[in-house]
Amino acid sequence: MSSKSPRHMAGRLVPLLVPAILLVVAEVWLRLSHVPVYLAPPPSTVAARLFGDPTFFLGHGVTTLLGALAGLALGGGVAVPLAAAMAQAPILERTILPLAILVKVTPVVALAPLFVIWFGFGWAPIVLIVTLFTFFPVLVGGVAGLRSVDAAALAFLGSVAATPAEVFWKLRVPSALPHLFAALRVALPLALIGAVVAEWLGSDRGLGHVVGAAHARLDLPTLAAAVVVLAALGALLTALLAWAERRALFWQRSDEA
């Protein structure tokens, strides 16, 4: 009942008002000032391009999405077990973690051309670049998470002679989940960036390729439409992740300070 009250509706609409006004202002200003389309296309032109050929953008969008998700799955799939091994073996952590942190602070975009040279055109460089982008944030988050166990819970499990495997599955893994989700929140946009960069440099498919090709032709409506689709993809993935996090970490809400 209350969710349909006018007040509530207004509360939902107001945040949408600002972008709507900005779009209208851009539209009017670009039309009146006669800025050429190859410099800045009005929003309506971009929308016409996007909805005039939806299968084109959808197809390339799916390609980018699959590349990003495959790379993220590979990066995370290797990082999580490795983090578990590192949490159990301090020597491994001392060896790998400094390297991981070094790579994490390096703008690995610079390595992307190298990957295209090494792995050629197509899926391989895309997936591997995304893997490189996402591997280290997940690794660092995973190690931090597996270490962040409650000392008192650890003492209790010790007092009943729990094995290291029992401590790992019953305490360490669930304790690591909040850190892992935080790492994924960082890794998800990185996965999209990685896929776009890789497609731009060495692919004939995907939104990254669309942006690169449109740029070469100064086809700004296509370029802008691709960016809009990318933004939608990013928002969709982030929303899905937030939903999964709320489901998985239901116990984190309103816990004691």
């Binding site: 409650d150 003492a155 209790f156 499990l157 002679a161 309103s254 816990d255």
Partner: protein
């Protein structure tokens, strides 16, 4: 094993009359090694014997090493010197036999588990028993939380969480309860209430208990003997038998006997704090081990 007979006896007599005490700790020393600092001695030769069925309170100034001693008894920390026997065997063996029930000030519940699943955590470990759910349910109803089995810790109050932790420990039916200020984080009324409940449940499973506390009143109300420790590095200043009849109830705190015990222990603690270092003072205090009546 009758508790009444051992209740008022000092250590020396206990070790003679009880062949295998529940706890025998001899010359326990412990030190913490922090980087770039000299070793910090926490325990300086602690002897402690607890007879089967007894409730012994460890009382001492904060930071004196009470918790360290308890962790050593539980075998989750190793002493730098000295030996511990639980029912005549090393703590590691007692732990594997689920003979120890450790309970800490932090409830240490797993937030992703319901109250019931938390209560069965200890039972689950290193033994997959089908009866763990039944035992855990019994333990939960023992602490009055039958209706909250499906609740998660974040949905429970502080006192209820500590009750779940108590159920988790009692579900193991341990021979020896090791309690480290188990209710200190709670408000005073809840703390007292849970203290009485603990003694009732402890009696029902016939467990021995060692309880660390910083509350003199709590120690006197619940314990058979109070071991008074000095400031760090901790030594045993005195062992005060609590000569109050059992079963006790809340109104025990209004009696003159109660006040006399509290006064005596506070005097011992004050002496221990003011003259924590020289050995002479503690010898002097040991002479007062038998409480004048």
């Amino acid at each position: 094993m009758s508790r009444v007979s051992v209740e008022a006896a000092p250590i020396a007599e206990l070790t003679r009359s009880e062949p295998v005490p529940a706890v025998r700790a001899r010359a326990i020393r412990a030190a913490y090694q922090l980087a770039g600092r000299p070793p910090l001695a926490v325990l300086d030769g602690i002897d402690l014997t607890v007879a089967s069925g007894e409730l012994v309170a460890l009382l001492g100034p904060s930071g004196c090493g009470k918790s360290t001693l308890l962790r050593i008894l539980a075998g989750v920390q190793l002493p730098s010197d000295g030996t511990v026997e639980i029912d005549g065997r090393p703590p590691a063996e007692a732990r594997r036999a689920k003979a120890l029930g450790l309970m800490l000030q932090e409830h240490a519940l797993l937030p992703w588990r319901t109250a019931l699943d938390n209560a069965r955590l200890g039972l689950e470990v290193n033994r997959s028993s089908g009866s763990s759910a039944t035992l855990a349910r019994e333990a939960l109803s023992g602490v009055g939380l039958t209706d909250f089995a499906d609740y998660y810790p974040h949905q429970l109050s502080g006192g209820m969480r500590q009750r779940v932790a108590l159920a988790r420990t009692l579900a193991l039916r341990p021979r020896l309860l090791l309690l480290d200020e188990p209710f200190a984080a709670l408000d005073e009324l809840t703390r007292e209430e849970l203290g009485w409940e603990l003694t009732r449940l402890r009696t029902s499973i016939e467990a021995t208990a060692v309880m660390v506390t910083h509350s003199v009143a709590e120690a006197v109300a619940l314990a058979d003997r109070v071991v008074v420790l000095s400031a760090r590095p901790a030594r045993v200043l005195a062992v005060v038998p609590v000569e109050l009849p059992r079963p006790r109830a809340v109104d025990v705190e209004g009696t003159a006997e109660f006040a006399r015990h509290v006064g005596e222990i506070k005097r011992l603690l004050r002496g221990g704090v003011e003259t924590s270092q020289p050995r002479g003072s503690s010898d002097l205090l040991r002479e007062r081990q038998r409480v004048p009546s």
